[in-house]
């Protein structure tokens, strides 16, 4: 069996010291041996940005493409080569600004590809301009008086495109991240995973309230299908859906609360969860939605057709017999 080591390349990894991408890279290198595919069947496609360097550090086939277009390039590759396992690695500027159109339509089509959006809420490689996911008010080199726009929410975006697998992980919460990516790997259809990633250099405070295990206990809620949405150091709080509203309830022995169980098949509920944000709510981490739907250009649709014959007849039809 392949080991994580087999997925490392000779390339010197050149992200800034302390970059969250190191953790993500390491999770990917540990994960891929577990999905049981030979290395040559795996392709990593990336766009432009810090995330774009990902393919160079993975000992698989890799294609570092252009800004925003990775989902479209991966779609073409999948159409040509349905036999490959294709992983797209993009950033927040890449995926939600210049390439939002491609990301939306790739998700909508439900191609059988996996898309990882590494979200550090900043333009890192161009040295610290605000990105669509930067928090409102963030002071950056291009928003000296604070970012004026509302921020984009990758999970809501993916759900609105009809994503059949939509999840969120955190770079240094490696155990949960690996579980999410493992499930994504086996999802039939497009799997979209947002990974919150700490950019120490240009956006060091973005994830202050979830940056370690202790903080995450109180400030995030783990989504487990069929399980109640409880969180807090002593699991004493719950996210509860009632009367069409989401609220936080304290759970203690003499207080009976109707707990809401997480359901990955409920689209509307997934949408509501996607709107939960800090500091009013704990940030949901895990799989928001996981459903089966028809795959775009599934190889099965060609099982009963003879390409050679179709092409022959097509030429005869067009050329006609005058």
């Amino acid at each position: 069996m392949l080991q994580a080591q087999d997925f490392k390349t000779k390339q010197e990894v050149r992200w800034c010291p302390g970059c969250g991408n190191y953790a993500i890279l390491s999770v990917m290198q540990k994960l891929l041996p577990k999905i049981g595919l030979p290395r040559e069947k795996i392709v990593i496609v990336s766009g432009i940005g810090c995330s774009g360097r990902f393919p160079y550090y993975m000992n698989t086939y890799g294609f570092h493409t252009i800004h925003g277009r990775a989902p479209a390039i991966a779609t073409g590759l999948k159409l040509a080569r349905p036999d490959l396992s294709i992983w797209v690695v993009i950033g927040d500027g890449d995926g939600l600004s210049i390439g939002a159109n491609h990301l939306y339509h790739a998700i909508r089509r439900n191609c059988d590809i996996k898309i990882i959006l590494i979200n550090n809420k900043i333009y890192g490689l161009t040295k610290g301009q605000f990105s669509p996911t930067s928090d409102k008010g963030l002071v950056t080199s291009t928003s000296p008086n604070g970012k004026k726009e509302d921020s984009a929410n990758p999970i809501t975006f993916a759900l609105s495109a009809g994503g059949t697998f939509v999840a969120r992980g955190i770079d240094n919460d490696t155990k949960n991240l690996e579980d999410i990516l493992y499930t994504a790997a086996f999802h039939k259809g497009l799997a979209f995973v947002e990974i919150l990633q700490d950019c120490h250099v240009f956006n060091p405070t973005a994830f202050d309230d979830i940056k370690n295990k202790r903080l995450r206990e109180g400030n995030t809620v783990l989504l487990n299908h069929g399980k109640p949405l409880i969180f807090g150091k002593n699991f004493d709080k719950a996210v509860v859906l009632s009367d069409g509203k989401i609220s936080i309830k304290n759970i203690h022995e003499n207080n009976s609360v109707d707990l809401t169980n997480h359901d990955v098949s409920n689209e509307f509920y997934a949408y509501m969860l996607s709107r939960l944000s800090r500091p009013e709510f704990p940030l949901p981490i895990g799989i928001f939605r996981d459903v089966k739907k028809e795959i775009y250009d599934s190889p099965e649709i060609y099982f009963n057709s003879d390409s050679k014959k179709i092409i022959n007849q097509a030429i005869a039809t067009i050329v006609g017999r005058k």
Binding site: E40, V43, T65, A72, L79, D83, H102, Y302, N312, K322
Partner: protein
């Protein structure tokens, strides 16, 4: 009416003009198909309004279709029209532009009421006016005839009225003495899905045919009945159809699957539409979310080892530029088809132009060499596109293929030679391209992309010397390619005038030169299929002529390239009207420079 003696090169030019809802394109195509049972060379050109349905009866809503029938090979749909069919006054006004003094004008007399006349900007009925008295008019009450013929069919007025075109078709078939059964078979096939509509159209056709027979509308000069029966392998193809055939045939010839990626855009969409019908595991048609995605998907497919092509027009071509650069650096074979149209911006979407040549050759950032190939005629789209595929695979490079709205909408009688690539200059030469290693190949995993790579290791490299070397290697591909160009001159190898053309100007220029040969004039014609690179060898040919005339449907883009490359003067002959050159205007231009 007076008759002309049948000449050995009998020919007739027919122009059909009507509202965009009148079914003009359909009877145009029907006529072309019906002529196919005979040994008649047919060239057609369609002209559409950009609007789907502009207000009926107005000039902007006019749809036209012109055909040239000839017993000898022709290269255009003709200049001046011998028979004009005008379905209403606006159509008459538009159609009159290309008439001559012996043009027979057939009008639907029912549509010449006051309102229709004023919509076309006529004050009085032109048919009755002094100005038009020299024309031969044939007034047929087409609407009255059709409504009366279909009165017992269970059809609404508008359904019946829609069959007007078939009535006109019937009249023309009789006039040209062509077999009515072939035409009826074609109508049956066309409307096979709707029995009642099929019957109505057949009836309309017969009504027209019989009306012409009873009215004795036979003219010897239009009689094609004695053109011999043709062999069975001649087709009538538009440029976009020929592109589609080349795509299909490429799958067979290269034994690779093909991804056709595109985004709807006039005048390229018909290729996507046509090929979508034949989607299969070896030929996938992908309608992308935008032009950039279509280009990107083509690159993705190429990375996976598939042939790929994206088809677009000017506005979409601009959008693809960045991705083309990626294909150059990553050395991936793909073909970008640009069916040019009049710009800038949205311009005139249904009208032709050759205004994207410089954009194709130079329109990218960085030193980004890309071979450019252009088709000369509708059928040549097949050969030239196959060659573009061949170049792309051989040199591991994107190739730009230029067609235009004229070629897309024109059709010619042709017999495609499937047995050969008709590649004019690709021999098996060594070149410094990388091998096409496909994902899935064991122990060959590699990472590529848009960043500059080291010559040897393939790792990312910003070394100054390496970048120079890589740039040289990319340029060398084109140099190698240019070494194998062969130039075929039509006419003497030296002399006063060389007419140098590219793309869809070929037909008019060839015809104009032929025309001048008949007048014993001396000039020569050279047509370029490969616009980038252009072999330095061309210089030795150009040097043998006093004047180089370059007719182009732009402001002199090939002229600029030739002037810059060879430091010689050229005489540009430019036209940007949305229409191709007529043969006569080129004849006139050439004559002027021959010193007459």
């Amino acid at each position: 009416m007076k008759s002309f003696k049948r000449s050995t090169d009998q020919q007739v030019v027919i122009s059909l003009v009507g509202d965009s809802g009148d079914g003009i394109q359909l009877i145009g195509a029907s006529l072309a198909k019906s002529a196919g049972a005979y040994n008649i060379d047919v060239n057609t050109i369609a002209s559409y309004p950009a609007e789907i349905r502009a207000p009926a009866g107005t000039l902007p809503g006019i749809s036209g279709f012109q055909l040239q029938f000839s017993v000898t090979k022709k290269f255009t749909a003709g200049d001046k029209v011998d028979i004009l069919v005008a379905m209403n006054p606006a159509a008459l006004k538009r159609g009159m532009i290309n008439t001559h003094k012996n043009t027979l004008i057939i009008v639907n007399s029912d549509s010449f009421d006051e309102r229709a006349l004023s919509k076309a900007g006529y004050i009085d009925n032109p048919i009755k006016s002094e100005e038009f008295k020299f024309y031969k008019f044939l007034e047929i009450p087409i609407t009255t005839l059709i409504i009366s013929a279909l009165k017992n069919d269970n059809l609404s007025y508008s359904q019946s009225s829609k069959c007007k075109n078939m009535l006109a078709f019937g009249v023309l078939m009789y006039m040209l003495s062509l077999n009515r059964d072939t035409a009826k078979k074609w109508i049956e096939e066309k409307f096979k899905k709707k029995q009642d509509i099929q019957q109505a159209n057949l009836k309309a056709f017969d009504t027209g045919f019989n009306f012409a027979e009873i009215s004795e509308l036979s003219y010897e000069e239009y009689d094609f009945s004695r053109a011999c029966k043709t062999s069975n392998n001649v087709s009538q193809l538009t440029g976009n159809e020929a592109i589609s055939v080349a795509c299909l045939d490429a799958v067979q010839k290269f034994e690779r699957s093909l991804l056709v990626a595109g985004y709807p855009i006039t005048p390229a969409s018909s290729v996507l539409q046509l090929l979508s019908k034949f989607n299969c595991s070896q030929l996938k048609v992908f309608q992308a979310e935008d032009e950039i995605a279509a280009m990107s998907a083509a690159i993705g497919a190429a990375y996976g080892g598939s042939l790929s092509v994206t088809i677009t027009s000017g506005p979409g071509f601009d959008l693809k530029a960045e991705a083309i650069g990626l294909a150059v650096v990553a050395e991936l074979p793909t073909v970008v088809i640009n069916v040019q149209r009049s710009g800038p911006s949205t311009g005139m979407p249904t009208k032709t132009a050759q205004t994207d040549l410089l954009a194709a050759v130079y329109g990218r950032h960085g030193e980004c060499p890309v071979p450019v190939v252009a088709a000369a005629s509708p059928a040549d789209c097949y050969y030239a596109l196959l060659e573009a595929f061949k170049i792309s695979v051989k040199y591991m490079t994107p190739v730009i293929f230029l067609s235009d709205a004229y070629l897309a909408n024109a059709s010619e009688s042709c017999s495609l030679d499937f047995s050969s690539h008709k590649s004019s200059y690709l021999s098996d030469l060594d070149n410094s391209t990388r091998p096409w290693i496909l994902p899935g190949t064991e122990n060959a995993e590699y990472q590529t992309g848009g960043l500059e790579k080291d010559m040897v290791s393939g790792q990312i490299s910003y070394e100054p010397h390496n970048h120079q070397q890589r740039t040289n290697v990319r340029n060398k591909k084109l140099e190698d390619l240019s070494k194998h160009q062969i130039f075929k001159i039509h006419g003497p190898k030296q002399g006063k005038i060389l007419v140098l053309t590219w793309g869809s100007v070929y037909g008019s220029a060839y015809s104009a030169v032929e025309c001048l040969f008949k007048e014993n004039k001396s000039l020569s014609h050279l047509h370029l299929r490969h616009l980038h690179p252009i072999s330095s060898q061309l210089k030795t040919i150009l040097d043998k002529f006093e004047k180089i005339i370059i007719p182009e449907l732009n402001d002199g883009q090939l002229s600029k390239i030739i002037q810059a490359k060879f430091l010689i003067p050229t005489i540009p002959c430019n036209k940007i009207t949305g229409q191709n050159f007529s043969v006569s205007e080129l004849v006139e231009f050439f004559k002027k420079h021959l010193g007459e």
